[in-house]
């Protein structure tokens, strides 16, 4: 399984802070994004935002990063702390 987390605006828009998805071969951050976008219109809209960021195992990465069983993948908007 892959643990998927959502933060801030995404968490609220999707009414979800985490879910699990099945790991498959040759999985990438982009494929997970597409898989989630296929859920329905709301998910399609939220997951296609240009500003969307992704982290794998707590490290921000790009959309071609490979993802394996046991990884933690997080989606979130640009950060605004400080």
């Amino acid at each position: 399984m892959i643990k998927v987390l959502f933060f801030a605006r995404l968490r609220e828009q999707l009414s979800t802070d985490s879910l699990q998805i099945l790991a498959s071969e040759n999985m990438t951050t982009e494929l997970i994004r597409q898989q989630l976008a296929n859920t329905d219109d709301l998910w399609a809209k939220v997951m296609s935002a240009d500003s969307l960021l992704v982290a794998v195992n707590q490290q921000i990465t790009d959309w071609s990063h490979s993802v394996n069983a046991g990884d933690e993948v997080a989606f979130f908007p640009p950060v605004t702390g400080g």
Partner: protein, 152 residues
């Protein structure tokens, strides 16, 4: 020392901990506060969310990067999360060094990078409801300028 916490911090106490070393000639501290941000909506406060685990990891990386560039002795980074009202303290950065210029530069670097790299998100609570703040392009430009400056 890196702390992500709900509780407030006391600047005098943090200063005391930083200043307790006669090797250092310079202590520089920065405090960020909740301010009335924008657009006349009557900001009452902020709610601060973060990504537990990743936040601490990113802050440690930023600290390590600062230590690569400047001769620093002590570094304190405290960031609060949860609900904060107008005027409350959000973030504390403190650094000590034998040299004042290193201390000033490192303190500025730490807050600039924290703002663009650490996974915190602010939601503004106004008289007309709540609203997630948008990231500022000017902030990411500032951290890019650091990267250019430090690699040259």
């Amino acid at each position: 020392m890196i702390n992500v916490q709900q509780n407030d911090f006391i600047v005098a106490d943090e200063y005391q901990k930083l200043a307790d070393d006669n090797q250092d000639g310079a202590v520089v501290t920065f405090v960020g506060k909740v301010r009335d941000f924008n657009e006349g909506l009557g900001v009452q406060g902020l709610s601060l969310e973060h990504y537990p685990g990743m936040t601490e990891k990113v802050l440690s990386e930023i600290e390590a990067e600062a230590r690569d560039h400047w001769p620093l002795n002590k570094v304190t980074i405290i960031h609060r999360v949860g609900d904060l009202t107008l005027g409350e303290q959000i973030v504390f950065i403190g650094v000590t060094s034998p040299h004042r210029r290193a201390a000033f530069a490192a303190c500025e670097f730490l807050i600039d990078f924290l703002k663009t790299k650490a996974p915190f998100w602010k939601k503004e609570l106004t008289s007309e409801g709540s609203k997630w703040l948008e990231a500022k392009a000017s902030d990411s430009k500032i951290s890019q300028q650091w990267s250019t400056k430090l690699t040259n």
